[in-house]
Amino acid sequence: METETLLLNMGPVHPSTHGVLRFKLRMDGEIIRDCQIVVGYLHRGTEKFGEMKTYLQFIPYTDRLDYIAAMPNNYAYVKAVEELAGIEVPLRAEYIRVLVMELNRIINHLVMMGSLLLDLGGSTMIMYGFRERETALQMYEMLCGARMTFNYVKPGGVREDLPEGFMPKLNEFIKDMEKRIVDYEELVNGNEIFLMRTKNIGVISAEEAINYGMTGPSMRGSGVDYDIRKVEPYSIYSDLDFKACMCREGDSYARYLVRVDEMRESLHILRQIADTIPEGKTVNQRYGMAPNTGAPSSVMSYFPRIFTPAEGEVYSRIEAPKGELGFFVASDGTTKPYRVKIRSPSFCNLVALPKMVLGLKIPDLIAAFGTIDIVLGDVDR
């Protein structure tokens, strides 16, 4: 029988596109014959902002890239700037940075699990995820005064030291979280319907994943043993004991499992940090901005220095919760970066999606899309 393909426009306003993504689907009944992705509805010109603001002023804008997990964005940019200017960071500051980033990784994966399950129709998981996320966000609020847009990591250190009562709360969170992950696994992992929906859906092989530029947990789900924290250890990751989680299948379920395991690993890292965090300064006084809590007499020692890194360019990358987050920063020796380029993990991971979903059905598109775990603020910048 001769049939006509249906052009279905999914998004930019659609419940499961996680924002303003648009799929142009060519459907044969329920089967996807062609998938085109249209992005850019949330483009805010962050890279142009980077050229227009000073090095310090651009940090708040990086918060707005991946707003689910903003701390790695802060850190990735600051790391690039530090490499460019050759700034030393006190050890305690490094510990705090890793602490907040791993906490953010847990938050990100909780949100991802929740939204994946919500996309598949199970609406309870997201609330459980958000419940634990709330505890973590309150910790961030104690730490830096904001819940999602932190502006916390600064060149040469961090903005403020850990507040009183942070460590007990962290320990409580770790203990609580361990129990809760078991809960999630019981609720989701073995659920036959969940398995039916995610097993063998959106399969991508290791070679293809690499060629399509996938990174992070999405790629490790395909069996590439690659974690920037392991391969190019930055900050204090070389001192920490953790493993890069990996699954071989390359389907949606594998990508999901990688993230559950990563939450465990992150908890493990948090526990190590809670045990071994050293005392000391949290900021390199020469470059950093100390919190302005001193008496007015000590004005000058707290005054922020203006950066003028030497001419040069740097590409520095970290393992953000969603994948490889890189910042290319070029300096021309003035107070503002000459060029800031953001290599966002969501953007590059999305390239592989049309490949994954060809020949599958709309519900599979949503399952595959949910496990790639993108944030539109990160895609469109």
């Binding site: 850019g40 050229e51 399509y212 590409y315 890189g326 290599r343 390239v351 469109d380």
Partner: protein, 167 residues
């Protein structure tokens, strides 16, 4: 011997100079030979194209390819230098699939034309946008208004005439 020098050794005519990008080896490539170099580099094990960056340097436009090898765990940066007036370079989409979107983005924001790209059109900005924002000579003072037309296409104007509620 770092990968950039290796590359220089393998393709002496294509590599103009070898340097560093802060802590990563950098090779400056003749723009005509980019495709050849890319194939060679892929052979050398650089299977991951991290990012393509276009930088407007007033008199020239640089396009920087940051590569990573999963096998050797090595970094390499390639740089091509293009004319400012008509920046054109070969597309590497055939070698790294991820270059598809990265090149479109560079085309969109910096205005580098990639020859041989299967679908070179704007990605982040709407079709019909005037200028390339990350060029240093981009006119920031002109406002542009975007609406979506009947068939989902983007309509751009500078005077707001396409807006439903006129400005």
């Amino acid at each position: 011997m770092n990968p950039a020098e290796e590359l220089k050794y393998a393709l002496p005519n294509s590599v103009i100079s070898v340097g560093v990008q802060t802590n990563k080896p950098l090779a400056v490539i003749r723009k005509e030979d980019l495709l050849k170099v890319a194939e060679k580099v892929k052979e050398m094990g650089f299977d991951n194209l991290s990012v393509i960056t276009g930088v407007d340097r007033f008199d020239r436009i640089e396009v920087i390819y940051n590569l990573f090898s999963y096998k050797k765990k090595q970094n390499l940066a390639l740089k091509v230098i293009l004319d400012h007036s008509s920046p054109e370079v070969d597309s590497v989409t055939s070698i790294w699939k991820v270059a598809d979107w990265l090149e479109r983005e560079t085309y969109d924001l910096v205005g580098v034309k990639f020859n041989g790209h299967p679908d070179l059109k704007r990605i982040l900005l709407p079709e019909g946008w005037i200028g390339h924002p990350l060029r240093k000579d981009y006119d920031m003072s002109t406002e542009q208004f975007v609406t979506i037309g009947e068939d989902g296409e983007d309509i751009v104007s500078t005077d707001g005439s396409n807006l439903l509620r006129r400005k």
